[in-house]
């Protein structure tokens, strides 16, 4: 039996009213994301990839078309704790320790103290940050902070993880390491992941599905199903299969740009 899609967008439009007149951030976006998929959104600035992620999270509201998350409206989905959101900046509150930062959503959602402790311990282990719970964010490196922020998004057991360029500000080596860890985490938790990125290798390495987008107006130009195996060592990036997908992504990006010049 075919599972119902976790996220389904149909003819989605979003126009921002700005001082310079209306800006069409998304036009006619159609997409299905199945359970357990790892979907990357890639494209140049202004292509609407972040906006689309924010629509899923009900942080923005579409001006046309429909979108469902777990069969509900995004607002309802959010209230039922459907997703955890990871921002580009780790966004840990500096006055809270790592542990307390992870407890933040749990406090808001009203988990009991003992349950909070249990979950903090659990997710710290998932992101490999045991023993750092009592530290303040500034005492951790950028990569560790971002892992803490992922732990925070995982703490309340949402099925969907939405990540907006989470590793964009980190250096290449740390980024490779975190990509590897993220894949392991995905395999272990079987979450559905939406991942916005600028990087072609990152998108290809991580994803089961790559959504290529282009700007003015923001729209989807290509959806690539990756046939790479689920088990992916870092050196898979030198295989012909990997390079073929990367090539197709690059072509898609170029096509989107063609009538800019």
């Amino acid at each position: 039996m075919h599972d119902a899609p976790v996220i389904e967008a149909q003819n989605l439009d979003l126009t921002f009213q700005t001082a310079d007149g209306p800006v069409q951030a998304l036009r006619d976006v159609n997409l299905e994301i199945g359970k357990g998929e790892f979907v990357s959104f890639i494209g140049p600035s202004g292509c609407g990839k972040t906006t689309f992620l924010r629509v899923i999270a009900a942080l923005e509201h579409p001006t046309g078309g429909t979108i469902t998350v777990n069969g509900m409206t995004p607002d309802e989905a959010r209230k039922s704790r459907a997703y955890g959101y990871v921002f580009q900046a780790a966004g840990l509150y500096p006055w809270r320790t790592i542990e307390k930062n992870i407890k933040l959503p749990l406090e808001i959602m009203g988990f009991e103290a003992a349950e909070q402790e249990r979950r903090v311990k659990n997710v710290l282990q998932l992101v490999d940050l045991e023993g750092f719970g009592k530290k303040f964010p500034w005492q951790l490196s950028g990569g560790m902070q971002q892992r803490a922020s992922i732990a925070r998004a995982l703490a309340f057991d949402a099925d969907i993880l939405l990540m907006d360029e989470p590793f964009g500000a980190l250096d290449e080596i740390v980024r490779d390491h975190l990509n590897e860890q993220l894949l392991k985490l995905w395999a272990r938790t079987e979450k559905t992941i939406g991942f916005v990125t600028h990087s072609i290798p990152e998108a290809v390495y991580l994803s089961t599905k790559i959504v290529v987008m282009s700007p003015r107006p923001g729209r989807i130009t290509d959806v690539i199903e990756s046939d790479l195996p689920k088990e992916r060592p870092l050196d898979i990036r030198d295989t012909p299969e990997f390079l073929a997908i990367a090539h197709r992504v690059r072509e898609g990006l170029r096509a989107g740009h063609a009538y800019d010049d």
Binding site: L59, W95, I108
Partner: protein, 332 residues
């Protein structure tokens, strides 16, 4: 030489550090202080000379230049008292006077002691600061959460600070000291007459001190950036939760900065409030009696005591700030 504690304490390294500290911070500060004192003495000599010369002429005295200079520095009612005169007066009216004295068989505060006056100014200051800060925080919370309040309260808050406090202080004093509730409380013996005098002072003080808190707190409550607020939205957090868990903690550093401005303003407010109330006690009263009787040295020593009080309050708040921010994980 054997290994021990002494070499570690007085070794070349620590000596170098000490010299570094002296030349880095202490020396410049001392130089500035020395310059101010020198300019001050120069000013005293120039401004007090006229009186000395006048005396010489009237009494037909013969004085050398050195004698004239010495005289300008030690007049009883100089136009500008010299530093050592002010310092001596400060010393005599604090350490040199008992704090309490016996009067009509009762032990009371001694009005000749400056600490006694400082005490009478500090309490209304602290009370006014507390009232002002509380109101300021309350207003800021309203302003941040209600657009109507943002539009309506802020202009009034700004307007309130453009009214000269000297003009409004007597009005507050008259109105408050005639409040039936307050007079009733005195009649019933719930509060003493002294406490009643404290109320208008504290109110005027709070009038000046609430404003910095409003401004700083509004900035602080609005300091979380868009993604900090978005994070709260992804949890479907209520406004109250966003306030307690994000806006309020984010505003704490802003709040302490405002507090330091505010407590200094509160002190000024109290002193100004003492001028038209005919208060007998307090630094403002001391300033006023000093000016009635041309006691410039007394005026200056009261001014210095006020400055010392302000500095002490600000330092106290600074210490509290360090403790609180350290507990909130600010790197030190």
């Amino acid at each position: 030489m054997t290994d021990g504690v002494a070499p570690a304490m007085f070794g070349p390294k620590s000596a170098a550090r000490w010299v570094g500290a002296v030349s880095g911070a202490v020396l410049p500060v001392m130089a500035v202080v020395a310059a101010i004192v020198a300019i001050w003495y120069g000013g005293s000599v120039m401004m007090n000379r006229a009186w000395t010369l006048d005396q010489i002429e009237r009494r037909g005295l013969e004085m050398t230049t050195m004698e004239i200079v010495a005289d300008t520095m030690n007049q009883e009612r100089p136009v500008l008292p010299t530093p050592h005169q002010v310092f001596n007066e400060l010393w005599d009216t604090t350490v040199g006077e008992p704090i309490m004295r016996e009067r009509r068989g009762e032990l009371q505060g001694n009005p000749r002691n400056l600490f006694f006056h400082a005490y009478h100014t500090l309490w209304p200051t602290i009370l006014g600061f507390a009232i002002g800060s509380f109101l300021g925080i309350l207003l800021a919370v309203g302003i941040v959460h209600s657009r109507a309040m943002d539009m309506s309260v802020m202009p009034w808050a700004i307007a309130s600070q453009t009214i000269p406090i000297l003009a409004i202080a007597p009005i507050i004093v008259v109105v408050v000291s005639n409040l039936p509730a307050l007079n009733n409380a005195v009649d019933q013996g719930w509060i003493s007459d002294d406490t009643k005098l404290l109320v208008p002072k504290a109110l005027i003080s709070s009038y000046l001190s609430f404003f910095p808190v409003v401004v700083g707190m509004v900035a602080g409550l609005r300091s979380p950036n868009a993604s900090d607020l978005d994070l709260m939205r992804t949890y479907s957090a209520s406004r109250g939760q966003t306030f307690w868990k994000l806006r309020l903690p984010a505003s704490v550093p802003f709040l302490f900065t405002s507090f330091k401005v505010s407590i200094a303003a509160a002190l000024v407010g109290t002193i100004v409030a003492e001028l038209p109330t005919g208060a007998r006690f307090g630094l403002g009263a001391r300033l006023l009696t000093g000016s009635y009787y041309g006691q410039t040295i007394q005026i200056w020593s009261a001014l210095f005591m006020a400055a010392i009080c302000a500095a002490a309050l600000v330092i106290l708040l600074g210490a509290l700030e360090r403790v609180v921010l350290k507990r909130m994980g600010v790197r030190t």
